[in-house]
Amino acid sequence: MNSGTVSSRTVNTAPINFVVRGATLPDGTSTDLFVSDGQFVDSAVAGATIIDAAGLTALPGLVDLHTHLREPGYEQSETVLTGSRAAAAGGFTAVHAMANTSPVADTAGVVEQVESLGDQHGYVTVRPIGAVTIGLGGERLSEIGAMAQSRARVRVFSDDGKCVSDALLMRRALEYVKTFGGVIAQHAQEPRLTEGAQMNEGALSGELGLAGWPAVAEESIIARDVLLAEHVGARLHVCHLSTAGSVDVIRWAKARGIQVTAEVTPHHLLLTEELARTYDSRYKVNPPLRRDEDVRVLREALADGTIDIVATDHAPHPIESKECAWDEASFGMVGLESALRVVQLAVVDTGLLNWTDVARVLSSKPAEIGRLAGYDQAFTIGSAANFTLYDATVNRVFGVGDLRGKGINSPYLGRELPGRVVATIHNGYPTVLDGDLVEAGQVEESAVRVHESTRSSRG
């Protein structure tokens, strides 16, 4: 058995007490981890299952601030269950589900439903994101307070997929969420400058005859929004930064002390607009893939902290939405299953980030932005056992078999990527073991068990 394999001796139920032997923590030290009843404990519990993690990197459970789970309404693309499975397979233990479902997540009822589906399935913690405006219509504020005070305790609000382009509405939204300690996650895309836009605007779009998506359409909104955030003293999060100019604006805003955070997707850290030459719509995404130079600057900005986090923008689509001409195809790529591997390829193997940085940009910081508790002190005794065991030493071609959600619209199919998620532990029970998803019924059962034991221990 090689060092990348986990020997799990479980029978019908997933282990709830286990020992992880010889895992390498992000800081490079080697240790044994002891898990019991959902938490890290200081020593092995009798009868605990042993996981041999020699040679594996233990990372805190990954947290995605930008996931499209599609349910309710677009279950042909993804469901909370299938998206949760894709997330677990990628090493995630929590995802934030974007609001552009049908009905839109603009009421307490929808966000509570999404959250409880996530709890029930148990693969990851699902944190719903509320819409900023009713129906993502960009005209009237949705019931932000009701969503914040609902059982789902929503803290992130976004019209993602659409930009809150009305300056007054954006100002009010920023101010209003302060009331609940919330944050507006802006999809920065000036709508008039991007009417019909298909790909990054530049020499290549001109040659290919595809309508251009100028960098300024993103940068101008970010510039406006950081100034609004400064003016009203509110917290702003910028989704999927894609241009070098956006990095400049964020850097300037942070230097001024504006409360802004920013994310970048794995694909914007690796892929460039050149891929549009194929007219293969797997490479069609919003915001579009940009120039080589943008990719370089985004990587450096992630390394120096100007960009705070990596978020997937996992956007599953049915096959027919991509089997067509470029301008007829839907925007978006799936990304949960490949995110960690792409991050390793783009910024770890290139020496820009170490594993402690990865733990920050893919776990503690996104949790902090989303006000998700339990991710600030990874691996400490008494904290929730959310982590992933990752083999960074292997290289494999990424294939359809690696995709565990409904969407196969991945830009990485056929590409060699480093790394392999060997195990994922969510709230102290495994969702992935030996590189395979634990069966859904078993995960659901574990979720109930952990839930009950936490309740009884609370007393």
């Binding site: 020499a203 040659e207 005859g209 251009g212 007219y279 027919e320 089997e323 001409a325």
Partner: protein, 315 residues
């Protein structure tokens, strides 16, 4: 040559080769029986997702003069307009045994998507894809220029040193793109003239000269002036204030026409809007090649169909 998708990937020898085959095809048109048996038994499908009577008819004539069986599969009124995908249409045509598909589509890259899809094995001939390319138009334009310059001695010649000015909506023009690549490959010097709003971003990297001023371009003594069609609805998207101002600044009017040499060619891919981008007298003058372009279009399309379907394309 497996497909004809763009002029960008044609080298000079291949391009000259196509023009030379078109010379042979033009000879056929002057015979009493305008028909060759070459493509007997081959099936050519005209797959038009956009209306274009001129281009469709030109391909139809070309296929028929080569004795191919030609089917017009127009998107209007067919299952395509009821939401059938490009994939299903392509697979249907493949099942019918199409040897070549001539595709006109409003999406840039549609012909390439079809060619690399694996949905259909036929030769794909791009008859205009969105704002990307229209290779047979550029080939017929090059053929027309060469014919005017060299007449019966055209075979084997390129366009070395020819000075071609293309005027109008470059941004949305597949004709301008295909011509920019092909004419440059054939040795011509291409200049593009348009308001800055109608020049694509990053055009400075193209192998062409750029200008905004048509008067300057006219006075620079070009050998060819090619006027592109301007769509009036562009003014609604603020590309220019109105058609009157456009015509004044970038239309080939009588005053500008009179400053051209007597042997300067005036070209237009059609359909023309007289009084907007081109005056009636410019369109009807002896400089105008508009009708020759139409006739040569059939010869070029015969040549391309022949080269794609008879398997003797390699030079």
């Amino acid at each position: 040559m497996r497909h004809l998708l763009s002029t960008k990937d044609l080298d000079r020898a291949t391009a000259v080769g196509i023009l030379d085959v078109a010379e042979d095809m033009a000879d056929v048109a002057s015979r009493e029986v305008k028909k060759l048996p070459t493509l007997r038994g081959k099936t050519v499908i005209n797959l038009f997702f956009e209306d274009s009577t001129r281009t469709r008819t030109s391909f139809e004539l070309a296929a028929k003069r080569l004795s191919a069986d030609l089917i017009n599969f127009s998107a209007k009124g067919s299952s395509v307009s009821k939401g059938e995908s490009l994939k299903d249409t392509a697979q249907t045509l493949a099942a019918m045994g199409a040897d070549a598909v001539v595709i006109r589509h409003s999406s840039s890259g549609a012909a390439q998507v079809l060619a690399q899809s694996g949905w259909i094995d036929a030769a794909i001939l791009n008859a205009g894809d969105g704002t990307h390319e229209h290779p047979t138009q550029a080939l017929l334009d090059a053929f027309t220029m060469r014919k005017r310059l060299h007449g019966d001695a055209s075979r084997g010649k390129d366009l070395d040193g020819l000075r071609v000015t293309i005027v109008g909506d470059i941004l949305h023009s597949r004709v301008a793109r295909s011509n920019a690549w092909l004419l440059t490959t054939l040795g011509a010097e291409v200049s593009l003239v348009a308001p800055a709003t109608l020049l694509p971003a990053g055009i400075a990297t193209w192998p062409v000269r750029l200008g905004y001023d048509l008067d300057e371009a006219v006075d620079a003594n070009p050998d060819v002036v090619m006027m592109l069609r301007i769509q009036a609805e562009r003014m609604n998207a603020a590309f220019f204030p109105n058609t009157r101002e456009y015509a004044r600044q970038w239309g080939l009017d009588d005053a500008r026409l009179s400053r051209l040499r007597a042997d300067t060619m005036v070209m237009h891919p059609g359909p023309m809007i007289r009084g907007l981008e081109i005056s009636a007298s410019a369109a009807d003058s002896s400089r105008s090649t508009v009708l020759e372009q139409v006739a040569n279009g059939v010869s070029i399309r015969m040549a391309v169909l022949y080269l794609l379907l008879s398997g003797t394309a390699e030079q």
